[in-house]
Structures are given as C-alpha cells and as structure tokens.
Symmetry: C2
Subunit: 498 residues, 2 copies
C-alpha cells in the first residue's frame, strides 16, 4: 500500500478512536452516569470533539488527500472508496468555518431549551424565534457549498450522500396517493382488536423475551449488549462492540419487543461491516436511510409478520398466559398491526408512518427555500395533518412541536426514516426472489439465511458505496417506492380483508 | 489571573479531560464491555494516552511553566501549588525518553503474561527472566533522574511525592518489632470464633446492605454509583462522578461489605476535593498512601469497630437471621477482627497486613540497589515469611508470585498500603482529640462530623500539599507509626483479652 495512504489511515484511525471514545462517554451518559456527572461530561465530550476536529481538518490530511485523489481516481477498490469518502468528508468540513460551527452549537443549545419549554407549555411562540434562527443558520450553511439544484440538496447530502431533493420528492410523490388511498380503504372496514396489548406485562420477562428474539435473529451478544436507557438507540464502539438500549413503557409494554428488534437491526448492520474497514471512514453503515432499512426490516417485515409469530407466539403465550388468554396467533398478529391515524410520529403504525414524514419534508423544503415562513408552520402543519390523516392536533405540543430534531438544527433528517421503510420493502422483494422459502424459514425460527444475505449484500460493504449505488447493485434499480406500496397493500388486504 | 497561567490551565484542562475520558473507557472495560470489545478498546486507550502525552509534554507547556515558576515561587496560593505540581509532573515526564516508555510497555505486557502462566503453574523460573528485565528497566528509569540518597527514592516519589526511602525504612523499623511482638502475644491466647462469617449469605441482600452503609457514611450516590466488577476499585471521572466497584465471593461473603466501605473511603476523598481544582493537577488525592489512609479508615477504624456494629448489627442480624442466630454483637465484632497469620496479602487481617508489606519493601529495595538478585527471591521470601509470620508458603504461587504489581513494573507501590494504615491511625488520634464523642456518634450512626473533619482537613486540599506536609499541617508531625501501634495494641488487647 502507498506510504501516503498509510499516513492518511494513521491519522483517520486516531480520529476514529477519539470519536468512538466519545461514543462510549455518550452511551455512559444515557445508561449509567449519575446526575452529578453531566457538567464534566459535557466538557470531556467538547474536548474530544475539538481534538478530533483538529486532526480531521489538519493541513496534513488535506495534503495527503490531494496526493491520493489522483492516485486512486476511478478505481472500485476499497482504497479508492476510502480516499473518496475521506476526501468528501474533508471537503465538507473545511467549507464550514469554525466560527460558524461554534455559533450554530450555541444557537442549537438555546433552541433546544426553548423547545423543551415550548413543548411543555404547548406554545409555539416560545420556540418560533429560535427556529427562525435555526433556519437562518441552515441557509447560511447551504451558502458555504457550491450552488445545487435545490438548496435542500446540501442538507440531504449530509445524511444520504449523493441523494437529491428531486429524487426524494419523486419517490414520495409516487407513494403519497397510494398510501392515502390505502388508509381510506382501511378506515371503511371493521377495526381489529388490540386490547390485549395494553394490559400489564412483566418488565423483566418482556426484556428477557426481547433478548431471546434478537439473539435468534443473530445479534451477537459476545460483541454487544442491551441496556436500559430513556430512549432506545444503537451505538458502535467498534465492529466487535455494538450496543443497543431499550426501555419499558407501562402504557405500551409490547414496544420493548419491537424496539429491541429495531435496534438489533441497526446493530447487526454495524456488527457485519468488513473488519478491514475499521478505523477508516468506511467503517459504518452507508447512510441513515439504509441503516433504517435494516432496523425497519427486522422490526416490521420480520417482526410484525405472521410467520415470525407462528414461531414465537406459542412460547410468548406461555410466558404471558393471562394477558393472552383466548388470543389466537392470527388475532395477535392483527393486533400488533392495527392501523389508526394518530398525532404522534413515533407512535405511528406502518400504514400511517410515512405520512408524518412527507408532511415534515414538505415543511422543511419550504423553510429552506423560503416559501414557508416559520410563523406559518403551526397552521400548515395542522392543515396537512387533516389532509393526509384526517385528524387535527388539539395543540402544538401534539403537532408542530412534537419532535426534537429542528431544535438541534437537524433539517434534512426526517426523510431518511421514510426512505428506510421504502428501501426495506425493496430489499425484501429481492431477498424473497433469492431465498424462495424465506417465510417457511422464519416460521421455523431460522434467520441465518436472511442475515447471511444482508451481511453479504449490504453490511459487509460498510460505507464503500453510496446509498443509490448500493441499491442499484443489490436490486438492479435505484430507490423506488413501488415495492413498499405492494408490501403495504398485500399486508393490510390480508389483515383487514380489504 | 495571569494570562500565562490561563494558557497553561487550558492545556492541562484538556489533558485532564482526555485522561478522564480514558478512565470512563477503562471503567466500562471492567464493568460492561462485551468480550469482543477488548481489542478495539486497547487501541482507543492507546490513542487517548498518546494524545494526552503529546499535549502534556509539548514545548508550549514547558515554556509556560518556565515563565510561571518564577512568578509563583514561594507562595502558598492555589495557583502556586498548581504551577509547582504541574512543573514537577512535566519535569518527570520529560526526563523519560518516549522510546524507553514504549520499551517498558512491551516488557510489562510480556512480563504480565509470563506472571499469569508462572502463577498458574507455581513456577518462578517462568517469571524470573521477565522480572530481571523489569528490574533492569526500573534501574534505567532511576538513571534518568538526578542522583538521590537511595535509588529507590526515585520510584517512591512517583507514588508518594517527596517521600524518602530512609523515612519509610525508619517508620517501618519502629513498627516491625512492636507488631511482631503483638502477633506473638495473640498467638498465645485462645482464638476467636468466626464460623458464622463463612456461611451462605444472599448476594443481593449483602450488596444492598453495603450501599446502605456507605450512603450513611456520606458517599454521595447522586455523584457516584457502585457496580459489579472482577475486582473492587474506585475511579474518578470528575469531582461529581466518582464511582466504585465491588464483587461477591462465596467463600468470604462479608468481604462485600468491607470492600464497599474501603472503596467509598477513596471515593469520598475524591468527591470532597475543592471543585476549583478540577481540570488541574491538583484535582485528585495527594498520594496513594493518603488515599489509602481514607479507605482504611472507613473500612477498619470505623467499619471494624464495636461502635459501628452497635449501630448496624441489629438491622444486619434481622436481614441475616439464620446465619447470625445466637451471635452477639460482641462475638460478631471479634469474628470480623480475627487475627491469623496467612500467606496471601490481600486476605490478611489488620494485625498481620503490614508484615506482608515490610517483606515486599525489603525485597524491592534490595532488587533496586542490587543487593538482592531476582533468582534468590523465592528463598528470601519464604525465609522472611517464616521470620515475620511463622509460616512458610508451600509453593511460589502462594509466595513470591502472588501479586501482580512487579509484572507491571510497579516497584515502589507496596509501601503505600502500609503507610496508609499508619496514616489512618495517626489521623484517627487527631480526630478523636477534635471530636471528643466520636464513638458515641458512630454508635448512633452519625458520620457527618467525621466526614466533615476529613473534608476540611484532607479532602478539600486535593493535591495541593505533598503527603508529609499535609500530615504536618493536620497532626503537627510527619508520618509516624506510634499511633498505629497504640491503635493495634488497644484493639487486640480488648478483643483477645491480652
């Protein structure tokens, strides 16, 4: 290997080590840290972030990349991908002045505090000036980059490398009328029962069952663990130490199971990345949407399917005999797939979830290109909720103020959730072509062939290919919502007898 | 404050942040990390260590210290102490070439592996060449420093700043005959019973009781926590996040209680350091011995005293009614203070513990000044064990190979354990002069006055004063074993009716 590349890998390896150390500190903050620890922890994370940033943006890295870009251009090798991704990251970071980053961090911190207060009082006016500042900063951020077809492209690219606003709009434009139509048809038939999901379930038994499921999926507990935290998340310290968190909610106990499946999907992706990519910019999943496709696949395509419960239900019913007395596996399967338009995105079912995302995407694009003013957001939000889901939020806390993302300056993030759903179904069609008896395997609790497919086609590549290129390689086409519409239609036709 | 000092504090603050981040990673390694994580964790710690070292030894730090040393010389202010300690740390680090540090790390790693094998096979010859290398490296380390009265002074100074070999030898020379004499007198009278300590105790109940005790001591759980780990230890992430670990041993269940008291003693020291010293070289306890004086005080002077158990025993006996059936508080107090010469240092009682340390100190000094050859260690060890404790190890695993310290190059460390015992009793006499009704307070479970005394006299000062200076300020004399002899004699006269 070239000596220049070795030098680059040495520096980027240290940056990776520091970032992973920061991840350990953040995990500890959520899982273990006593309340007193937070002030010092903030300082420690700031110092690690500063050092990682200094190293990643050093002149030396720039010089090495300049030499390497010509050496490796046009190749499909791992080394070429490493140089390409490193050069893109470097270019992005260097375009944004340190003073702007500092200003944005301060603004985000204030906006977060204001959002917490605004949400608790359900008063958008408290958040409004802060969100206006966030939008202004986002527009300035966009201005540091070369003009794009749409200013939102610049933001999207940070989460979905290479993806264009027009592509996402087209995907969603195809999806929206079909998903709206499906929802209308479901609304006209008899609702399914799910009262048995809202009884008291023993927390410890649910937790243990969640770990049983994800261990059978193939989440490797010798290279990971599940801990309790306020919110479920996945975090990576190395390919051999990928952890997840989970929680128990008394009013929705079953969520513990699906959160474990969801996070294990993220975690199995990270556990499956080529170990040779460790300590390089290729070491993680390629994008948020592809990551989300993995979590949604295990949570929904697998975990909310009838074959899955054909396998697990007998044992689950033994553990929770009184709660599930008289509930057949089919009735249980219907219950966990109940469709009901609701106000809160994170509680939405599969059939309505994407509607919440499309609404947010439209507002974000409007804020960024100036066609929507922040002051008008609550009204537009409520109108669109009525339009897409037939319900209107009773207040802003359950409407425009529900999500934390904008307060942190994360504009461009939401669509990755919906893209993840779409990709998961698109992959699922391909998988079912390649593994003809997949349903039978799942019925028997055999997940090894499925995981092996995902490992070989998706996981092992880490960040080598950008999302659209990866999808083209694996499915023969770019991201497309058709498979997702087919999946939803078939699923709910069966469940609701449409 | 001077701008130069601000600049120094900025850099040292970052070094502190990085070191604390490394401590979080090490804590996680012991408490939470899945087995797969160890390789990457080693790399991450190495990177953090390298960066902290680079920052701490930068030319900039040297230049700032040069300016500051004259500015602050001779003052008793916090700033002067900060500069003095920082300058000493800098000087020490700069004297030792990086190539030597790397060579020592490799040798220590190999020596550790050899020690593990040698101990498991009880074969000193496996460890011998590695220990010879360790001794050679220690001698080379000493050669980087200006000539001292004794080469061992250089090593001791790393753990007990300012302490001289001659001082330690004198302290121990005074102590040894009196402690040997006490042991002989105990051996001549009837042994106490402790069979009730070796029954089965419920782990969870013991753990909860240990937390009850240390919470009453004043260990602040809102700024700390206790977790399970292979070995008990205390670790500091900031003055407001000081954690301890503990374990359960089936053959010695009560150890869980005393380990919690011991580690909480370390932790309360760290929780009590002046917050203004955070992120400076003054932010931690002043030396290993003074630290150990705090842990031993809470474990032994408090936790193995009759007044302590007058308070806790009734409740303890309720929790473990069957194990303690018919055992009075006086009998229990005798049982937990049973004296019995034994082979293994970490299991030794208060009356014999220091003998194990004196033996090691003599061997260490001999190795360092060349008067004892490594090959002769097993024989000398066994002869001294017979001389001091009247027993001879049946093999080297239970003799010269029992401790890990030498394999890691830690020569100069052991005496801090015995000095800690000595200091704890010396402080205890002073405390009892200042708090006349201390025993009555402890009988009532009131520990606030005691902790307040320690906070104000010891903890708050962090590393501002070196150990001998601190002892002079607090007790009016330097470290002296007389109080410890009085304490042991009084205690065992009562227990054994000497």
């Amino acid at each position: 290997m070239s000596e220049t590349l070795e030098q680059l890998k040495e520096i980027l390896g240290e940056v990776s080590d520091i970032n992973h150390a920061a991840s350990v500190l953040e995990w500890d903050e959520q899982v273990s840290m006593p309340p007193g620890g937070s002030e010092a922890r903030g300082r420690q994370l700031a110092t690690l972030g500063k050092i990682a940033h200094e190293k990643a943006t050093s002149e030396e890295v720039g010089n090495l990349l300049d030499k390497l870009k010509s050496e490796f251009s046009g190749s499909d090798s791992d080394e070429a991908a490493l140089v390409r991704v490193a050069a893109r990251n470097y270019d992005k970071t260097m375009r944004v002045p340190a003073s702007f980053v500092a200003e944005r961090a301060v603004a985000a911190s204030k906006a977060f505090e204001a959002w917490v207060e605004a949400k608790s009082k359900s008063d958008f006016s408290i958040f409004r000036p802060h969100l206006e500042k966030v939008v202004e900063l986002v527009q300035r951020y966009v201005s540091f980059f070369p003009p794009a077809d749409h200013p939102y492209d610049v933001l999207l690219d940070d989460f979905e490398p290479g993806m264009k606003t027009a592509e996402v709009q087209e995907i969603f434009a195809n999806l929206r009328p079909k998903q709206v139509d499906l929802l209308k048809r479901i609304a006209q038939v008899k609702q399914v029962k799910d009262d048995f999901l809202h009884k008291k379930y023993n927390e410890k038994k649910l937790w243990d069952f969640s770990e049983k499921i994800i261990a059978e999926f193939g989440y490797d507990f010798s290279r990971g663990r599940q801990d309790k935290a306020p919110h479920p998340f996945e975090t990576t310290f190395s390919v051999d130490d990928v952890r997840i968190t989970n929680r128990y909610e008394a009013d929705n106990p079953i969520a513990t199971l699906f959160s474990a499946m969801h996070e294990s999907g993220h975690a199995m992706y990270e556990q499956g990345v080529n170990p040779a990519y460790e300590r390089t910019p290729l070491e993680s999943g390629t994008s948020l949407a592809v990551h989300e496709s993995q979590s949604r696949m295990w949570e929904n395509l697998v975990g909310r399917s009838l074959p899955f419960w054909e396998h697990f239900y007998p044992e689950f019913k033994k553990v929770f005999a009184s709660q599930l007395d008289g509930v057949s596996v089919k009735a249980f399967h219907k219950g966990i797939n109940k469709v009901e338009p609701s106000l809160i995105r994170v509680n939405a079912d599969e059939a309505t979830y994407n509607m919440h995302i499309m609404l947010r995407l439209e507002l974000e694009i409007g804020m960024v290109d100036g066609s929507i003013a922040v002051k008008d957001l609550p009204g537009i939000w409520n109108a669109k909720m009525q339009d897409y889901l037939g319900i209107t939020p009773p207040n802003d806390a359950k409407g425009v103020l529900q999500d934390v993302h904008w307060s942190g300056g994360m504009i461009g993030y939401f669509s990755t959730y919906a893209l993840g759903n779409i990709i998961s179904a698109q992959l699922w069609e391909q998988i079912n072509k390649d593994i003809r008896d997949l349903d039978e395997q799942i019925c028997k609790g055999e997940f090894g062939t499925l995981l092996g497919w995902l490992r070989g086609k998706i996981h092992v590549h880490g960040h080598k290919y950008d999302p659209q290129e990866l999808m083209q390689r694996v499915t023969g086409s770019k991201i497309d919502s058709a498979a997702y519409v087919r999946y939803l239609t078939k699923k709910y036709t069966d469940i609701y007898g449409l």
